[in-house]
């Protein structure tokens, strides 16, 4: 970036005595840290420290009724929960993969068309896509529960005219949970895709066409490769939170669709078994951390930050 260069140039032309100039330089260099410190301190206290303390909790043992929990390096918490809740872990990962792929398939054609062909309607259409998500996550999901209900506005009439058997259900099936998560996380897929597609220089497609490529070929060899950073950002921003989701599974699912998030929240809030709950959460965090680190190493953090800041 040119910022650093500008700073240096400015320093050399200022006619101040050398020692003062240096202290001014030092002060200038400290400016970003002053700006960072209030929020940095807050993030340290309410983001990083809690993560560390959760790690600490996960190694405690004991029980609430037997004199509270004590830190004992209880690594067996991890082996216990991994053995006991393997099904839910695997299920969460499988659901999340299906969700991520489905959301990408659903969102890509739409964001592609908006970014490339919607002209001056671009921002309005993007807004129309995002507008439903102003309504609370829980409310939207509750509405889906109502829409897909056994006697709801869709299944009810279909059963009445005999198109579906009376016992037919959508709720409490894996489909309902996967569909619910896909719906709820679609903006996390659509926004990074849109940001990446929108940044592609449209003249490149023109150039490809001038060079006698078909429209499909222009897409496959120009647009698709250039949109990959958006695809990866969308993957990360959808897959990671979807794995930890439990709201869809509790509202739209049944006993056979329990995800790891359901177990975590039940252990934390109902059973008050903090160490095991924390161990489960730490495992989820580690999976996320590995994915995020690999992602950041290869692709940098720029795309995700840009996608999250795209609402401005």
């Amino acid at each position: 970036m040119s910022d650093a260069g500008a700073e240096v140039a400015e320093g050399t032309v200022t006619p101040t005595p050398p020692d003062r100039r240096r202290s001014l330089g030092v002060r200038r260099r400290l400016v970003p840290y002053y700006l960072l410190s209030p929020a940095g301190l807050f993030l340290l206290l309410f983001f990083l420290v809690p993560l560390g303390l959760m790690l600490y909790t996960s190694l405690q043992s004991g029980g609430l009724l037997s004199g509270g929990f004590r830190f004992t390096w209880a690594f067996n918490n991890y082996t216990d929960v991994l053995g006991q809740y393997q099904t839910q872990f695997v299920r969460s990962l499988v659901y999340s993969i299906i969700v991520t792929v489905a959301a990408l398939l659903l969102a890509y054609p739409m964001t592609y068309w908006i970014a490339f062909y919607a002209g001056k309607w671009k921002s309005s259409l993007l807004l129309l896509i995002l507008v439903p998500f102003f309504v609370s996550f829980v409310i939207r999901t509750v509405q889906w529960k109502f829409i897909l209900g056994d006697t709801g506005p869709i299944l009810g009439p279909l059963k009445d005219i005999g198109l579906l058997p009376q016992g037919f259900r959508i709720l409490a099936t894996p489909f309902a949970v996967v569909a619910g998560i896909t719906y709820n996380f679609l903006p996390f897929t659509a926004l990074p895709l849109y940001v990446a597609l929108e940044r592609i220089d449209k003249r490149l497609v023109e150039a490809a066409k001038d060079l006698y490529s078909s429209r499909w070929e222009a897409f496959r060899r120009v647009v698709w490769p250039l949109s990959l950073p958006g695809v990866f950002a969308a993957f990360l921003l959808t897959f990671v939170p979807a794995t930890g989701d439990y709201v869809n599974a509790s509202l739209l699912g049944g006993p056979g669709t329990t995800m790891i998030g359901n177990i975590i929240q039940e252990k934390f809030l109902t059973e008050l078994d903090y160490p095991e709950a924390a161990a489960l959460s730490v495992i989820l965090m580690l999976v996320m951390l590995v994915l995020a680190t690999v992602y950041a190493r290869i692709l940098g953090t720029e795309d995700v930050q840009r996608a999250a800041g795209a609402n401005a």
Binding site: F46, M54, W113, F116, K120, S123, I129, V138, R140, Q265
Partner: protein, 284 residues
Amino acid sequence: MSAVAAPARPVTQPGPAPLNRPRKRWTRFILPTYTIVMIVYLASPIFVMILYGFNDVPFDRQNSKFWGFTLAWWKNVFNFPGLGDAFKNSLKIAPISAVVATALGTLFGLALGRYRFRGLGAIGFVIFLAIAVPEIVLGSSLLSMFVLTGVPLGFTTIVLSHIGFSIAFVAVTVRARVQGLDRNLEDAAQDLFASPVVAFFKVTLPLIAPAILAGFLLAFVLSLDDFVITNFVAGQETTFPLWVFGAQRIGFPPTVNVMGTILFTAGIVAAAANLVVQRRRQAV
């Protein structure tokens, strides 16, 4: 809606040669039609929500039969026992957390977008993590901390947690705008003998104001919407989403739809205003 008119427009639009030279095949309607279908699908629960807020059910639980049109739920929005308080609670938490998160996040975003400094990469990674982290991990880690330190759960812990997860979003929003700024403007102000502080307030701040506002609205909505993290740190306190989640097992009253509609409308107005402001700025 205006979206219906969209497919035809770009073709007639003046300016650089449009990418979609009029193709005569029917296939050119596939993507625009698909986009409209998607928009309708995405909005479908919202339509249901708005419609059933006017449903004249004879009892106070949502029901799939539409019994007739009524404004009764609208007239008594805040009178439903428990729900009114939860809603007001949400409306108290959101502005506090949004104001603090905006103040902190704006400074953070300025530093990220404007300066190169030692540790920039690490800090960028923390922000990236704060955006990508699953809510359940954040919620459970905050609860772990509050339990270990013996902090009583309630209003304060909710507000602190909301500020915590909103900061990163405000920061990247402001950062995006700061990066797009012409640095020369501020230098010019300083050449004209404005102190760095004056230059900041007279030049930089007005230029990044839309991003600050957008960040504020985002933080507000994030706080209002949040269920997962709030559920972990709320203790006995309830917020609007928490109440709805608790009530849905036995069915929720149409009042919930009315409140949802109110919040939704407010969101649309804010977003539309933001869009108009942006349009005007681009036009200038």
